[in-house]
Amino acid sequence: MTLRTDHIAGGVFVALGLAVLALSGDLPVGTLSFPGAGMMPKLVAGLMILFGLLLIVRAGESAPLASLPWGDLTHAARIVAITAVAIALYQPLGFVVTMVLLLFTLTFGAERRPLFAAAAFSVGVVALTYLLFAVVLKTPLEPGILGF
C-alpha cells in the first residue's frame, strides 16, 4: 500500500482527538438539561476523530507522501529557530536590541546578504519602527535592558 498525505493528516488528527479525550477525563460532561464544561470539547474531539478517519478512508484521492516537496524545510526550520530565539529574548532584551539581532541574523545569517547592507537595514528599520510606534502612534514598545 502506498502511504498517502491524507493517511498522515487523518492519522495526526485522530491522534489529536484521542489525546484531547484522554486529557478531558476530569471535565464533567454534565447532563442534557445542564451541559458541563466537558461536553463541547468531547463532542468536538469525537467529530474530529470521525473526520480524521474519513480522511484516512478516502486517502486514495490524495497525493503519495513521497511526492511531497520538502526542499523548503531547511529554510523554514532556520526561520523558526531564529524567530524562537528572538521571542525568548524579547522581554529581557527589549524591542530595539532583539529586533536588530533578529533582522541581522535573518538577512546576513540566513539569506547571505552583504554584511554592511544587512547591518544598515537592521538598524535603520528598527529605528524607524521604534519612532513610528513610540513617537507617532504613542504605543510604547517593550523597553528591555536598555530602558527604551
Binding site: A37, M40, V44, M48, L55, Y90, T129
Partner: protein
C-alpha cells in the same frame, strides 16, 4: 431616523478631517499590504491593531476596514505586473491580468481592475446601507437556539462552498472549535487544557492564531530563493483601456459586483471564493472562452469586482448580527470589542455614529482608493523592488510586535510561532487554515448558545426545530449536507471540484 438621515449623520462623521486622515491611512496601508506578497490583509490588520488602541472607535474601525478593502485593490497590482498574487483573492487575476501585461496592456488591466473594484466596492456599500439596518432589527428576534443554528449553518455552508473536500473543511473547523474551548469555561468556571499556564486561562486569542497561520505560515512556505521579481512597469499614458476593452468589462464588473456581494454575506474566505466563482462564471458565459488564460478582459474585470464586493458584503453579518464570516471580520470585531462597542443588532441604535460613520467612510474610502491606485501605480510598483530576503524578516518583526502589543503577552507570541509551524504543515498536506480560524472565532458563542438552548429546553434537542427561524436554518444545513453527500455518491465532478482544479492548476 430614516436611512438617508442616518447616512447624512454618517457623512458628517466620516468627513471630519481626522476621520478622513485615518481612512486615507488605512487605504494606503491596505494598498501596500495588498501589493506586497506574503502579507495579507489579516496580517496587516492584526499587526496594526495595537496602533489603534489610542484612537476612538470610529477612527480605529475606519482605518482597519480601509486596510481590508484597500488590500483587495492593491492585490491586483502584483497579480497583473508580476503574476504573483499580493493576496489570495487576486490569484485569478494573475491568469489574464499577467497575460494582458505581456501583450502590452498592463495599464489597461490595472485601470479595469481599479475601476471594477471601485464600482463593486461602492455597490457593496450601497447594499450594506440598505440591508444591514433591517437585518439588525430582524436579528433582535434571535435567541440562543437561533444563534446555534446560524453558526452551525455558517460552518456547513463554509464546508459546502469550500474547494477542498467537506470532511477536510469540517476537520479544520473542529480543530478551531477545539482550540476555542481552551481556557476558563464561562458557565462553570472549570479550567480547560490550560496546563497551569495563567495566560491560557483567558483562552487562545484570534490574533496570534491568525497571524501565525497566515503571516508566519506563509513565510515558512515561501523559500526566498524562489522569489522571481520580474516587474512589468506600465507608463501613466498607457493606463486608459480602449473602447473595446471598456465594452468587454462592463457586464463582468456588474456580474462580479452582485455575485461578490452575495458570496460576501456567507461565511468563509468569501473574497477568495467569489473571485474564483466569478472567473468560472465569466469563462462559462463568454462567447470566446478560449481567450481565458490568454488575456481576456473579463478574466480581470469579473474577479477583481467580485473580491471587492465580497469584502464589503462581509461587513453585513459582522455589523448587523455581530457574526464574523471569516478571520478578518473576526479581528475587526475584536477591535470593536476592545473599544467597548459590541457589534450586533444593537450597534445601529446604540452607536449610530460608529455604524453610520463607518458606512459613510467606505464611500469615501472607495473614492480614495481609485485615486490612489491609478496615478500612483508607479510608486506602488517600486515597493515590489524590495528583495524578499529583506521583506520577510520585516514581516516577522511586525508579526512579533503586533501579536505582543495586543496583550503584552509573550505566551501569545509563542502561540503565534507554534501556529506558524502548524500553518506550514497544513499547507504541506493540502489543508486550508481558514476554517480553523473561523472555528476558533465562533467557538465561545457557539458553545454558549448551544448550552443555553439546552438549558432553556430542559435538555430537549427538538428546541432547534420547534422555533421557526432555527428550524429553517437547520433545514438549510441538512439540505447542504444532503447535496454534498449526493455529489459524493454520484462521484460526479461538480463546480466545487472544478474550482479546486482551477485553484491548484491555473492559480499556481
Amino acid at each position: 431616523m430614516g436611512t438617508v438621515e442616518s447616512l447624512l449623520l454618517g457623512f458628517s462623521v466620516a468627513l471630519q478631517p481626522d476621520v478622513l486622515w485615518y481612512a486615507f491611512l488605512g487605504c494606503l496601508v491596505g494598498t501596500i499590504v495588498g501589493v506586497l506578497p506574503g502579507i495579507g490583509p489579516l496580517s496587516g490588520i492584526s499587526i496594526l491593531l495595537p496602533a489603534t488602541f489610542g484612537l476612538d472607535t470610529t477612527k480605529s474601525v475606519v482605518m482597519l476596514a480601509g486596510i481590508y478593502y484597500g488590500s483587495q485593490y492593491g492585490g491586483s497590482t502584483t497579480s497583473i505586473l508580476m503574476r504573483i498574487p499580493g493576496e489570495a483573492a487576486s490569484v485569478m487575476t494573475c491568469i489574464d491580468g499577467y497575460a494582458m501585461a505581456q501583450k502590452g496592456r498592463a495599464g489597461a488591466a490595472l485601470c479595469i481592475a481599479a475601476v471594477g473594484s471601485w464600482v463593486a466596492g461602492t455597490f457593496g456599500v450601497i447594499m450594506l446601507t440598505l440591508i444591514a439596518p433591517p437585518l439588525a432589527t430582524f436579528a433582535l428576534r434571535f435567541g440562543p437556539p437561533e444563534y446555534t443554528a446560524l453558526l452551525m449553518l455558517g460552518l456547513v455552508f463554509l464546508a459546502y462552498m469550500s474547494s477542498t473536500s467537506l470532511p477536510r473543511t469540517l476537520l479544520m473547523a473542529c480543530f478551531g472549535l477545539l482550540l476555542g474551548t481552551i481556557g476558563i469555561d464561562n458557565m462553570t468556571g472549570h479550567f480547560r487544557y490550560s496546563f497551569d499556564i495563567p495566560e491560557l486561562g483567558d483562552g487562545i486569542g484570534i490574533v496570534p492564531v491568525a497571524v501565525g497561520l497566515f503571516g508566519l505560515g506563509e513565510i515558512l512556505s515561501t523559500p526566498a530563493a524562489n522569489m522571481i521579481r520580474k516587474v512589468i512597469a506600465p507608463k501613466l499614458r498607457q493606463l486608459l483601456p480602449s473602447r473595446q476593452e471598456w465594452r468587454e468589462s462592463v457586464m463582468p464588473i456588474a456580474r462580479g459586483s452582485l455575485l461578490g456581494f452575495l458570496v460576501g454575506l456567507t461565511p468563509g474566505s468569501a473574497h477568495i471564493i467569489s473571485s474564483f466563482l466569478s472567473y468560472g462564471l465569466e469563462r462559462r458565459l463568454s462567447k470566446h472562452p478560449e481567450q481565458f488564460g490568454k488575456g481576456a478582459v473579463a478574466g480581470v474585470a469579473g474577479p477583481e469586482s467580485a473580491n471587492n464586493a465580497a469584502s464589503t458584503g462581509a461587513f453585513v453579518p459582522m455589523l448587523a448580527l455581530g457574526l464574523p464570516t471569516g478571520p478578518i471580520t473576526a479581528v475587526l470585531i475584536a477591535a470593536l470589542m476592545i473599544h467597548g462597542v459590541p457589534p450586533g443588532p444593537t450597534l445601529v441604535n446604540e452607536h449610530p455614529n460608529v455604524f453610520w460613520g463607518f458606512v459613510a467612510s467606505m464611500y469615501v474610502g472607495n473614492l480614495m482608493l481609485l485615486a490612489l491606485n491609478l496615478p500612483l501605480v508607479g510608486i506602488f510598483v517600486n515597493v515590489l523592488r524590495i528583495p524578499y530576503a529583506y521583506l520577510y524578516p520585516l514581516v516577522i518583526m511586525f508579526c512579533i510586535v503586533g501579536v505582543y502589543e495586543v496583550n503584552h503577552s509573550i505566551v501569545d507570541v509563542w502561540i503565534m510561532l507554534i501556529m506558524g509551524v502548524v500553518g506550514y504543515g497544513l499547507r504541506k498536506f493540502g489543508l486550508d487554515p481558514a476554517p480553523l480560524v473561523l472555528g476558533l472565532v465562533i467557538a465561545p458563542t457557539f458553545e454558549m448558545s448551544l448550552r443555553q438552548s439546552l438549558i432553556m429546553s430542559n435538555g430537549n434537542w427538538t428546541i432547534f426545530v420547534q422555533r421557526p427561524i432555527a428550524a429553517v436554518l437547520i433545514a438549510v444545513c441538512a439540505l447542504l449536507l444532503a447535496l454534498a453527500a449526493l455529489s459524493v455518491i454520484r462521484a460526479r465532478k461538480d463546480w466545487r471540484s472544478k474550482l479546486a482544479e482551477a485553484e491548484s492548476g491555473e492559480g499556481s
